[in-house]
Symmetry: D2
Subunit: 266 residues, 4 copies
């Protein structure tokens, strides 16, 4: 019988918030808005809280539990993986975090040609003795035209690729929520969306539409917040916009978060 070193006692008196694995690349099937299962490859992070009296956590169980559920992932099932993990490890809490590219077939604005754009998305679930916690995150690449550059120049305006990150904590089980909605909301907050395939008539349309709709990082964050403020199923959100400034070698960014359960903005 091989010694179970992890199960030994520990006398240092230090509780650990999270013990687990990170960076596990795994094939998964994730249900989309229409319930269709889509294959993608997730980077997985899973952990449990570890009581001060126990030396270590059995990390191989994390992979076993995840492997068994990998073909039926959704907000609901990721939360139940966290529940399984917590029970299996007799732990006070357990967390599961998935990050993966989510592919959307988009149509060019004028020619209507189709091609895929990849959005980096994440699902987080935490199981504990009290209320479970769920979170979604999506990172949306966009175009932004600088309002200052446009206003002070006789012609042109600097613009660049930006990224809007929207993180929301919905009230579980949140069965009606999906990434597509958050992506659309972020794209509407920018000067224009980005695409994988554009012909000249599309490029002309986007160039002028973006020039007519200049936004700072501040504006993109506020536009998303105004939209999210009308959602009734949120506990909290955090919105960030980052511009890879085309006239600088650094980024401009804005970020804000709000706890919807408290009386005002946090």
């Amino acid at each position: 019988m091989l010694d179970d070193v992890q199960a030994h006692a520990d006398s240092r008196g230090v509780d650990l918030d999270e013990v687990g694995i990170d960076g596990l690349q795994y094939p998964v099937l994730i249900a989309d808005r229409e319930g269709v299962k889509r294959e993608t490859i997730a980077t997985v992070k899973m952990s449990v809280a570890l009581a001060s009296t126990i030396k270590g956590a059995h990390l191989s169980r994390f992979v076993e539990i995840f492997h068994a559920s990998r073909d039926q992932l959704s907000l609901v099932t990721v939360l139940s993986i966290a529940d399984d993990l917590r029970r299996s490890m007799s732990s006070l809490s357990a967390r599961v975090h998935l990050e993966f590219p989510y592919l959307v077939e988009k149509q060019a604005p004028v020619t209507r040609l189709r091609a895929y754009v990849a959005y980096q998305c994440a699902i987080e679930a935490e199981s504990s003795a009290t209320t479970p916690r769920l979170a979604l995150r999506v990172q949306v690449p966009v175009t932004s035209v600088c309002p200052c550059s446009k206003a002070i120049s006789d012609r042109g305006a600097h613009n660049q690729r930006g990224n809007i990150t929207v993180y929301i904590e919905p009230t579980p089980p949140a069965t009606d929520l999906w990434f597509d909605e958050l992506i659309e909301l972020a794209e509407e907050a920018a000067s224009q969306p980005v695409y994988a395939l554009l012909k000249r008539p599309d490029e002309r349309h986007i160039t002028m539409a973006a020039y007519d709709n200049p936004v700072f990082v501040e504006d993109m964050v506020r536009n998303v917040c105004v939209a999210l403020n009308s959602w009734t199923n949120l506990i909290a959100y955090r919105v960030q916009a980052v511009n890879d400034e085309s006239i600088h070698n650094h980024a401009a960014y804005a970020v804000t978060s709000r706890n919807m359960t408290s009386t005002g903005a946090s």
Copy 2:
């Protein structure tokens, strides 16, 4: 006169927690434990809170203020940069975050040969109407030997490079604190430190000393916590250990945080 677009009014009613710049690579002089100024290159992130009534922040001022102070950085001066920023922008709060390689000339354990090891370090400062906030972070590469692998095997034991990240919030102004102390504390929590230059007698020493001192990620975090628990100048800490597991293609990690001002562990 060029239009000051950032100074326009905004009616969306959304306060922003942070508006600023990120990813600015800048040459800086940082005072070490002995007060000697060392040249390094920092990645700088600076921000202010923006009131809901104002359209944008003037980001060029951030670079001007930082440029003027770049040759005299320390915990004390980074906090005063945050103060300057807050006043200059008439903001409720301002944050400065620097990340940089901190070079330590280390001696091999047996031959005493000298060579540099680079530790990724960070200083954070936040200025607001209430108490200022300071934080230090250091990331320390180490060797870790797996206690389970050693216990269950007749010979050998898998080991790997790990990284211990120690983040502390000291009571300002914390003039007596420096990175070297945190680096030593993290290295003592591992199976052995890592070095840039080792000859065979050193390699023999480290191999056996590490084999005699196996630790899980859980152990490394707890060892650092036990040491930090005796520090009297801390408001909070967070300790993380990550092992780039040599028998897996994913990492094992543990993390815990503690707020020293509350009665128990957070």
Copy 3:
């Protein structure tokens, strides 16, 4: 009619080796050794040579051509995408480069439990007026135990995660080649493979088997080369091994390449 700026004449007299797109993340179906199509997500780079007399290449055509073929990728079809691209752009040469995670369900050595390991793989194809060129690349994470550390120490031996990269140029069309074979060959060249899921009996087995089979980066490269030297369908290869040294904060590496069509090693 919108001006076709790319089609304008150019008078600078500079031929361009490659003009194209890079970093396009795209969902693809790749046939495996058994002919089964597997979904994965590729990072795509495509280019054509541009004659000195033409101002620019029409980059949207790259995405159109790739989109039309994305569900039937193999060594043969990637080469025909390069052919299409070359003809469509009336270019002297065209290249297609795909990089993607390739998932293999592996069994633990003792318990035979199954879990996926992701290998980063690439396919390259070049179409030109002369012979087409094909290349495959696979990056294989492994365990390596240091022979020096073992020999000079009374107990233990430092070990770490390493990565073996095998790049081969087979004689087209190479219909009988696939990644699985290169992965196995690389794993056999190391102290032991890595896995996603190992229980204690597996960990004991791997710890001792690796300790009994120590290898330097030099050994891993040479073991792969010896194996490849017997392949009759190769034009050239390049083999690299990198160890994330557990006692240093830097890597050890070895690399060599061979052109099989010349008389000796290159």
Copy 4:
């Protein structure tokens, strides 16, 4: 006496092109155009060729040799480090590769305010029985305005941050060459340079100057090539431009290389 495992004989008959270390972060002093030593932090890669009859290379010597020279680096001294390495290891060839941020204090175009911009630079040296080989590489962030978008749109034009990479192999010892010249040459090939600090009059100037000077990636590469073609001290060059397209989520790129010793473009 500890066994010298690396010195053992090897019978596999495989010569290795390079055996060495990579990823060593080290503080260095690099002489600039005016001979002033500047402190920066380099990522170091060093290797030697290894004859098929020897089992391994002694990697600790690499760090010892580099450490002894770290405060006097220039094109000339990096080549002599490669010479030392080759002799010390009795090898047929040795290579040294340094990569580091090179800081330039730039003035804004109108207000003349000063701030630093970091350029990622590299020096490569190879020592062998025949002629030594030297190479410099610099990566220059720039602004680029799309000529097509400008031509087909009634207003505005999409633009973005780009990066021009210039790699040159000068005739050794190349004592009169430095990075500043390559940086200026690349910046002149783009729509406009980027800066760390710009006030509104500067932003107005750059916006309009860039709009008046649109360039594709093809144009940026060709502009650099035309300039380099007049240099008399070059053996070879390679020029690449990459645009982080603001209307796409992928990059556009162009690259070309030329061997000046052959009769035509390679």
